[in-house]
Symmetry: C2
Subunit: 349 residues, 2 copies
């Protein structure tokens, strides 16, 4: 069989209405639908995949380090290789070399970016020609939110109802060019690793949350309203939904047992500063949203980015500020950008 190295680049997404909680841990079926914005390539994952007869076992390098994939979370995520091999009728083992251009495990959605890019590259290496919807369902099995990074612009992940997950996939709602003014101002506050992984935190919330059910009652309507606001390019309505959903999710975490607390004094300071800015202008200038980490994402319109970066620059806790536009989703790179050595057995030096 032909041996083909496929290399791709993909990006994180920032959820505007959050995914938090699974109804099926193995298939990674979410308790609720979610909406996100796929980001541009300033933060990205580059991944090369090769399926080869020469390999005795799947071998995975992330950021230059070979990974233990036996019984580990990284190993579980490699289920996407098995699914794609099954689709292709191919039993060869894979060499995966993946590099993140941002801190791993710091709430910067490295798993979404990583698994979307891996799925995209691995499908290419196997010569599979899959639709974005099919790719998103494969990526979902590796990391739920990865399904949303499989396409560009504004993306909805419909929770679906079927037990086999065949209706739980991502769909593009708005193309990047259709609302180019919408941006994400990301304030990087810390690179420290999270105390609780998203995966463990979600499980704990579903199992022990007292208030969590009430979030589920709320959130499907919020997804609909957010999509409606985006279709109307109504940033005022969208901004409030974004902020409320983020706080609502963090509230359900605080209420689990034991409590999960991702927000810290630096994130609180940003929340207060954004509220002040919005109050002083009498409109929503920026809408903060926090994932399972203490970095801040402030969604805004291009014309207001200066006001937001000025505010952020005044804060001692902000290490770095990025202005991210909507990205296009994963794409293939040429052979010259392969991360796999000519021998097909190890990363390039």
């Amino acid at each position: 069989m032909v041996e083909r190295i496929a290399t791709a680049v993909g990006t994180p997404n920032i959820a505007l209405i959050k995914y938090w909680g699974k109804r099926d841990d193995r298939l990674i079926l979410p308790m609720n639908s979610s909406v996100s914005m796929t980001l541009d390539e300033q933060l990205n994952t580059r991944t090369s995949v090769l399926f080869s007869e020469k390999l005795q076992a799947d071998t995975v390098y992330i950021n230059g380090t070979v990974q233990d994939i036996n019984g580990t979370e990284v190993g579980e995520r490699m289920v996407v290789l098995d699914i794609l091999r099954g689709m292709a009728g191919d039993k060869r083992k894979a060499l995966v070399v993946s590099n993140n251009q941002f801190p791993t495990g710091s709430g910067l959605a490295s798993s979404a970016s990583g698994l979307a890019t891996l799925t995209y590259a691995a499908a290419g290496a196997l010569g599979l020609e899959l639709q974005p919807r099919e790719l998103s369902m494969v990526a979902r099995r590796g990391s739920g939110s990865a399904c949303r990074s499989m396409m560009g612009g504004i993306v909805e992940w419909r929770k679906g109802d079927k037990p086999d997950g065949s209706d739980s996939y991502a769909e593009q709602i708005i193309k990047p060019g259709e609302w180019p003014e919408l941006v994400d101002v990301m304030a990087i506050l810390t690179e420290s690793r999270k105390k609780v992984s998203s995966r463990a935190g979600m499980k704990q919330t579903v199992q022990t949350g007292i208030l969590y059910r009430s979030r589920l009652d709320y959130v499907e309507g919020a997804v609909e309203r957010a999509i409606d606001a985006m279709r109307k390019r109504d940033f005022q309505a969208l901004g409030e939904l974004i902020m409320r959903d983020s706080m609502n999710m963090h509230a359900t975490m605080l209420d689990t047992w034991p409590p999960i607390m991702y927000l810290d004094d630096s994130s609180k300071e940003i929340i207060y500063k954004v509220q002040e800015l919005n109050q002083s202008e009498g409109r929503i200038v920026g809408a903060y949203t926090f994932d399972a980490g203490s970095n801040a994402n402030i969604i805004a319109l291009e014309k207001d980015v200066g006001k937001i970066t000025d505010m952020l620059e005044g804060l001692g806790s902000v290490k770095n500020i990025l202005k991210l536009k909507m990205g296009n989703g994963p794409r293939r790179l040429g052979d010259g950008e392969s991360l796999i050595d000519g021998t097909g057995l190890k990363p390039v030096a």
Copy 2:
């Protein structure tokens, strides 16, 4: 009519299952029942009250400063004077002199202590002989949680159902001497004033909370289970209920619009340290609970106080540690301890 200066001392209480939200703002009827522990006199309010023909208007000194009572929150709380005057058929104006032996407005329940003590002293000054239940209903009108400081030991405030509030009062569940081992280790983290008063925060939660309804579904059962655990002297069951209820309340605050955030990095550190201590001992050694402020109260049994204070002393953010036992509720002080000058028109120098 006889002019009588009555002086009393009263104390704060720490809620074990919290009161958060009113169903009637004027009568101060709570959305849910609550349970608290009245604390001993290490923290206290001393108040002298005199009703006199010589006064043209109610005059209120708190911590040596005369208060503006026209259209202010302090003024609203003085409704207890009107209620007691109504009961006594007395129209004289009052001089109130009240001193808190702890920081006002820093989440240390100064309003509970203050209004319970004021009600107790004012009833005395008017010569009213009221039962604790009646006194608790009057104090409730000044500050909801003050009704629980009207008696000692473990106290339940039953929310009641009647629109006139006649069944919304406090009752003693356990006398101080019946479970003397139960103590509150209070870690004072800050004396800064709260960003949002409890009164405003509750109103906002009731009006805008998405998750709040779900707290109400939960909390009546939690009150019952906490009382049951206390009657059985089952600290393990009680401790978990205390911690979960505190986090649950703070979660509903985070989810209001705009978000209310009383917990900070210092409180988070204490939460993590208590969790670690409990984990390492394989039992609940201490149960943290936070009111609408960032001070920590750690409920524990006397035998474990050393372990908790050792842990707290290692934290840079802890300014002061108090070990508080259950108190007995308000009591009258002798004339020698009056805070009102012999002229009856001003505080003692």
